[in-house]
């Protein structure tokens, strides 16, 4: 187990270094001059050149790379060209709203998709099953920016029940969470329905029922537990994606998340911020993957790590 962990951590570090190197190169390869965007149209070519030198962008790429890497290892990811603040601090600042929205969305997804998936599986081929099937298909098909705007129109403008933008109270979370979750709920409901159907037919479930185990126990101990591996894998991937920021939702609901930070930074060619944010997102993704892999062993004791 320890050796497995060590191997995985080493692998993680290599992945992160690779991501850093790729993003370092990619932001510099795409055309556009950070100094020019920073100074805007009220500027001259000379001022741009002066600014480039000030940012250290006139040095050879290899020198810039070594400098950045050395500082990054020491925890200094440079300062944003535009805001002058530490890039890594700006990323961390965005993590709280991002995590809030991601967790709320995952929680809603788990709750609703378990209920809907189980209902559909229990009354398979019934009108309930067909309704759930249609709903989850619609959920998967609806573009989320459109859904977001419609929800704002109905619940904020027409009914005036919920705030239409921003962050602050739990009420502000409702509309973005629903918008973000609908597609996920569609996918997960189908996954859970299939899982429940498959496991519910297994001999051990029939045995449990025959023993007179209460239905709730049958579901939680025998059915759910045995179908969780694909569900956890899917949730892990989705959580990783959500924690990387969800640009469209963040723009529609004026949510100050990581996605907007990254897009603004890319548009501004704010290299330090792009590097810090993308590398950080990669770390989250890799760590989540590791956690998901470790959960397998807990869920299914037959899985051994070596």
């Amino acid at each position: 187990m320890v050796r497995y962990l060590l191997r995985r951590v080493l692998g993680t570090l290599i992945v992160i270094w690779g991501v850093f190197t790729i993003i370092f190169l990619v932001v510099r390869v795409i055309p556009g001059d950070p100094a020019a965007v920073l100074l805007g149209t009220h500027t001259t070519a000379e001022m741009v050149a002066e600014q480039r030198a000030k940012m250290g962008l006139d040095r050879p790429l290899a020198v810039q790379y070594v400098l950045f890497l050395r500082q990054a290892v020491a925890g200094d990811w440079g300062h944003s060209y535009h805001e002058g603040r530490p890039a890594f601090g700006m990323v961390l600042e965005r993590m709280r709203p991002t995590v809030e929205l991601a967790l709320a969305s995952i929680a809603l997804t788990i709750a609703l998709s378990f209920i809907l998936g189980t209902l559909a599986a229990r009354w398979v081929q019934s009108p309930v099953d067909r309704a759930v099937g249609v709903l989850s298909l619609i959920g998967q098909a609806v573009p989320n920016f459109w859904l977001g705007l419609v929800l704002i129109l109905v619940f904020a403008r027409n009914l005036n029940w919920l705030p239409s933008f921003g962050r602050g109270t739990p009420w502000h979370l409702v509309l973005p969470t629903i918008t973000l979750s609908v597609q996920l709920i569609g996918v997960m409901t189908r996954l859970i329905r299939a899982g429940v159907l498959e496991t519910a037919g297994q001999d051990y479930v029939r045995t449990a029922r025959a023993k007179g185990v209460a239905e709730s126990q049958v579901m939680t101990r025998h059915v759910y537990r045995n179908m969780l591996i694909p569900v956890i894998t899917m949730l892990g991937l989705q959580l990783g994606a959500l924690l990387g920021g969800v640009v469209v939702i963040e723009i529609v609901f004026a949510w100050p998340g990581l996605g907007r930070l990254i897009v603004t930074a890319i548009n501004n060619r704010d290299y330090p911020v792009v590097q810090a944010a993308v590398t950080f997102t990669a770390v989250i993704f890799v760590v989540l993957n590791l956690l998901v892999d470790l959960t397998y062993g807990y869920l299914d004791p037959r899985i051994r790590y070596a």
Binding site: G84, R157, W161
Partner: protein, 504 residues
């Protein structure tokens, strides 16, 4: 089985009912007494009035609430008005004296003295921002007397006063680092409370403001809502009290609404099509004139940008100091084709127009221009560029045609004309020694009437030589709820809420 089913149904019912009840429990958003919430479309990058964001409109507007200037420009009276400076005079063509207002305090309680003016000028020079050139002509600031400042300029500087209307005064000793923008301190009518990026900027009334009765608001909140339709919804629900920069469609939709007032005002902003005179075939003035004649500008302003722009009748907008009205280009397709043929292009020509979509309806305007030029045989490849690439190409003169606009930040003709069309600026590829001479002479003239005579000549040359087709003068659209009282249309896009109040 029956019992189980009942239990499932109960569970689902509880979840759904709970969700519904909890949503309804949230009452409609209530407007706070004394607080005005506004959403400005451009992202606030920094609150440092001297930093790299200092020419951004969002920063300039916020600065107007946090800071004071030495003097302000009064377009109605056509004269400068005292602010932190009570009196000023030019002792000789390169020396100016400013008598400062006494008893003014910064938000941190420190006194406003000549040291603050010295720090502010030096900071604006050292931070190398787009506004730095406005102050680089000042060679020394003498602040030995706390209530008097003596400025020396390297040469006579006709724009000194109008440039100073853009110098936000910060406390003496403020270091030239952008950190100041995180917690700005000024003497203005509002004090800084909080700045959460991409979320909000909160200001509160400065109870000790030196102008009595100002501000009338208790709190002023700028919230960030990047998406136009979300911004409009927030205005209609009352979550925000005010916003600006509506599209023609939104203006049409909201006109006649009882809850929301729409007000359209002038700006210092001019939108134009630059023609690179440094490149063939645009070095031939006939080709440039053919382009100007081919464009039906009023057709665009009456449809695509209706209500947000009007046809330009000078290289600078009509509220800018020294504006001189020019005759219309006279749209005439046949004439344009004839001039183009005379210049050696009877079969037309192929070219490229670069643009960026930062300006309202720029895509539609670009399409219209490309379409209109096609009618006289100028086949335009219209290229939308991401801002980072567009600005880079723009300053490197890597374009044939470029669609853009600029605001005369200082409200003075020099800001647009001297900065952009002097051959030294290398912005348009246009070189004309006569124009350079006039611009230099105007910049070095202190008497406003004499300066305006020179700028009038400059505008005539630019109009007839067509280094640019001046398309529109932008208009600013203000939309606010009925509770907002006392909002007066400003003379430029830089508005102020210092004298606005809100009814409960």
């Amino acid at each position: 089985m029956e019992r189980n089913r009942a239990r499932w149904i109960r569970l689902v019912f509880c979840v759904v009912a709970g969700a519904l009840i909890s949503s309804v429990a949230q009452a409609a958003p209530v407007a706070q007494p004394g607080t005005l919430t506004i959403s400005y479309p451009q992202r606030v990058v920094s609150l440092d009035p001297h930093g790299t964001a200092s020419a951004e409109r969002s920063t300039i507007i916020l600065s107007g609430h946090l800071f004071d200037k030495l003097i302000t420009w009064d377009p109605a009276a056509k004269r400068f008005q005292p602010a932190l400076a009570e009196r000023w005079r030019s002792i000789d063509p390169t020396t100016w004296e400013f008598q400062l207002r006494r008893g003014v305090k910064f938000h941190d309680g420190s006194d406003f003295t000549s040291g603050a003016v010295k720090t502010s000028i030096e900071r604006a020079q050292q931070l190398r921002s787009p506004l730095t050139p406005l102050f680089s002509g000042i060679t020394s600031v003498d602040a030995t007397d706390p209530n008097r400042v003596m400025l020396k300029t390297s040469a006579p500087l006709g724009t000194l006063l109008s440039n100073l209307t853009n110098l936000a005064i910060v406390p003496a000793g403020t270091p030239p680092t952008p950190v100041f923008g995180e917690r700005p301190i000024g003497t203005g009518p509002f004090k800084f409370v909080e700045f959460v990026r991409d979320t909000r900027v909160v200001l509160e009334a400065n109870a000790n403001y030196w102008r009595p009765g100002i501000p009338k608001l208790r709190r002023l909140v700028f919230v960030d809502i990047p998406e136009l339709s979300a911004r409009m919804t927030a205005l209609e629900t009352g979550e925000i009290d005010m916003t600006v920069q509506l599209t023609p469609e939104e203006i049409k939709r909201l006109k006649g609404s009882a809850a929301i007032k729409i007000n359209i005002g002038p700006t210092f902003y001019t939108r134009f099509l630059w023609i690179n005179s440094g490149r063939k075939p645009f070095d031939d003035v006939r080709v440039r004139r053919a382009i100007a004649k081919a464009l039906n500008i009023s057709a665009i302003t009456s449809s695509l940008v209706a209500g947000i722009a009007k046809p330009a009748d000078a290289p600078i907008s009509s509220n800018v100091l020294c504006y001189a009205k020019q005759p219309a280009y006279g749209y005439n397709g046949q004439e344009a084709r004839r001039i183009l043929a005379e210049a050696g292009f009877p079969r037309g020509l192929d070219t490229e127009m670069k643009w960026n979509d930062a300006l309202p309806k720029e895509r539609e305007v670009a399409d219209a221009i490309a379409g209109q030029l096609a009618l006289i045989g100028i086949r335009v490849r219209s290229t939308l560029q991401p801002r980072a690439i567009w600005v880079d190409d723009l300053v490197k003169l890597n374009w044939d045609l470029n669609l853009l606009g600029t605001g005369a930040v200082t409200g003075d003709a020099d800001y647009s004309l001297g900065r952009l069309y002097h051959s030294r600026a290398k912005r348009t590829g246009y070189v004309n020694p006569e124009l350079d001479r006039l611009l230099d002479q105007a910049a070095g003239t202190i008497d406003t009437n004499q300066r305006c005579d020179l700028y009038k000549r400059v505008q005539e040359i630019l109009w007839s030589e067509v280094p640019a087709v001046f398309l529109f003068e932008s208009l600013e659209v203000y939309a606010y709820r009925a509770r907002v009282q006392g909002f007066k249309l400003p003379t430029s896009e830089i508005f102020s809420l210092n004298e606005v109040s809100v009814s409960p």
